[in-house]
């Protein structure tokens, strides 16, 4: 399916009982775009991303990822996406190499492919010397880069990052965003949630979520002009204050 749209949502909702975690959100993400999902904790970002990844069923509305419906095409979606959650999701009691081999394996990569990818990844991340150390021994910044690399093993065209830089120092965060840019330059679509407003500046377009709804969507520059502010931080505080 050749389209310029990588992810598309229309009136997507998820209710937990009476609580509307995600309330009729609609947006399109173009291929190769870095699309930011901003919002405070509990705004519904993670719920939205989980629906798009096929981890949660939507209550109402529809969305497509890589051209497949999240209601009927989750099996195909899973082959086309990478996902990195806010929790560090590698096995701490496995070595760096064993983690890569495992994630390669569950994506159905062959042994040779895994061996090649492992070598490539370890040199990219400068982790060759650490490949046989337990993952728990790595500093958090490296763990997160490793987790990101693991989610890219099968070369997915779309990648979802759910607060990938939570709890990481500013320098590691900048390094991490450098990698995100590289990924986007390779033509991959990056869908990223964050509550760091400075990171919003790095995105091509951002949507601001508040209480389950998207209350603003646009390019960082466009939004700054619209609200006559100089930083995303100011815009965010301004908009949330209005709502």
């Amino acid at each position: 399916m050749e389209t310029e749209i990588a992810v598309s949502a229309s009136k997507l909702s998820r209710h937990f009982g009476a609580f509307k975690a995600v309330d009729e959100i609609s947006f399109d993400v173009k291929k190769g775009e870095i699309f930011g999902f901003l919002g405070a904790n509990g705004a519904g970002k993670t719920t939205a991303i989980k629906m798009l990844c096929g981890l949660l069923k939507p209550t109402e509305g529809e969305a497509t990822v890589a051209g497949f419906s999240i209601r009927t095409g989750t099996a195909m979606i899973k082959k086309n996406i990478g996902y990195m959650s806010q929790k560090f999701s590698l096995y701490e009691d496995l070595t760096v190499k064993e983690n890569i081999e495992f994630y390669g394996g569950i994506y159905g990569l062959s042994r040779e492919e895994i061996a090649n990818k492992t070598r490539l990844l370890l040199s990219e991340l400068n982790l060759e010397n650490m490949q046989n150390s337990l993952t728990r021994a790595l500093p958090l910044g490296w763990k997160q880069r490793l987790a990101l690399s693991a989610s890219l093993l099968h070369d997915p065209p779309i990648i979802f990052l759910d607060e990938p830089t939570g709890g990481v120092d500013p320098i590691s965060r900048r390094n991490f965003w450098r990698i995100i840019y590289e990924i986007a330059n390779r033509g991959k679509t990056v869908f990223v949630t964050t509550h760091y407003m400075d990171e919003a500046e790095y995105c091509n377009r951002v949507s601001i979520m508040h209480r389950g709804k998207i209350i603003e969507l646009g390019t960082p520059t466009g939004l700054k002009q619209k609200y006559d502010k100089t930083t995303m931080q100011d815009i965010f505080i301004h908009i949330i204050g209005q709502n």
Binding site: K78, G105, G108
Partner: protein, 368 residues
């Protein structure tokens, strides 16, 4: 189902198991410890029953009667030459379980063809002990009579032939049952935490966004633990044989095959709990509750199913150990084979498949 993906999960699970050698050691040593503890503690064999004698006769005949008790390995004569009014306090202090009062005219009475009465006082607070003492004393009296009268004609004598457990050792009954209890407990505990642990660490989410389906996850997790459970089973049976000299009259290969089915049931049960439970503590607690209690109370482990009230008998049919107990006791003690046991083996397989399917279905539900 894709083999490559299942193999990846299997390798990963094995790595977890062998990396954490402390847990592995516990997994291996726990059954040994359990079989030693339970094996020695759970016994209905009567031993070292203490008793007192007030022998007012003090004749060769009265000593002959007392010897009838002291010769056996069950009774220890603790008090002689005590006063009658001391007996009650000895019972209350639990110093004795039985007292024998032989009247002064014992020997005269025996030859005079009157009915001779000897008083037997029994502590029946533990009804099993009471019944045992009563039965054994009757047997002593019977032997005494026979010797005295050189077996007078017309007296009925039963010639018992005791099958399958001729020494009537309760270990022969309990130790195979322990195999059932320990295997179930260990194996279901093993798997009950594997999925919940991944829920807690967040790795499950990472697996679930991959193309792996629940079936592959469950199968990939069961296979490594089957080997571990099987290894545990072997250890338990070796210890049962060495420590308690429990006979193995039937085929070892059949024990192995049917144990595998039983292990599969236990692992599937653990996975089922794992797919529901939110935390590892809940998973472990639920597993303990759901395995130990029904297995001890309702499977025939101690109390025969046939003497339970009817509703409980129906519940016992849902307890996997009920079938495995019949199987393992049958093979070890009676030496019977698949011809007699196939129905129980089939029931066990059925329960296993049901639980595994439930684990997979429950698993799907929790995702969505």
């Amino acid at each position: 189902m894709k083999l490559r993906r299942i193999i990846s999960i299997i390798i990963k699970e094995y790595t977890h198991i062998f990396r954490d050698w402390r847990s592995l050691l516990i997994i291996i040593l726990m059954p040994v410890l359990m079989i030693i503890l339970y094996g020695y503690a759970i016994t209905l064999d009567m031993k070292n029953l203490t008793f007192a004698v007030i022998d007012d006769a003090k004749t060769p005949e009265s000593r002959e009667l007392i010897r009838g008790f002291t010769e056996s390995r069950f009774f220890i004569l603790k008090y002689t030459d005590i006063k009658r009014n001391e007996i009650e306090s000895l019972f209350k202090k639990r110093y004795i379980q039985m007292a024998l009062v032989i009247p002064g005219d014992f020997s005269e009475s025996l030859v005079s063809n009157r009915i001779t009465k000897v008083q037997l006082i029994v502590d029946a607070a533990d009804s099993n002990v009471g019944t045992f003492i009563n039965n054994y004393s009757n047997r002593v009296a019977q032997l005494f009579n026979e010797k005295l009268n050189n077996r007078s004609p017309g007296i009925l004598g039963l010639e018992p032939r005791i099958l399958f457990n001729p020494d009537m050792k309760s270990a022969n009954f309990f130790v195979p049952g322990l195999v059932a209890l320990i295997l179930l407990l260990i194996c279901s505990l093993l798997t009950s935490i594997t999925i919940t642990r991944e829920k807690e660490t967040g790795t499950l989410e990472q697996i679930l966004v991959s193309p792996v389906n629940p079936m592959e996850i469950v199968v990939g997790k069961v296979i490594p633990y089957i080997t571990l459970g099987f290894f545990n089973g072997i250890i338990i049976i070796i210890f049962a044989r060495l420590l308690f000299k429990v006979p193995i009259n039937g085929s070892l290969a059949l024990i192995a095959v049917l144990s595998l089915i039983y292990i599969f049931v236990a692992l599937s049960f653990g996975l089922m709990i794992s797919s529901v439970a939110k935390t590892q503590q809940i998973a472990m607690l639920a597993t303990l509750m759901a395995t130990v209690l029904p297995t001890i109370m309702l499977s025939g482990f101690i109390f025969p199913v046939a003497s339970m009230p009817l509703p409980l008998q129906y519940i016992s049919k849902a307890v996997p150990a009920t079938y495995f107990l019949i199987i393992i006791r049958g093979i070890m003690l009676k030496g019977i084979g698949l011809a007699e046991l196939w129905q129980h083996a089939a029931a066990l397989s059925g329960i296993g498949m049901l639980m595994l399917s439930m684990a997979i279905i429950r698993f799907k539900v929790t995702l969505e």
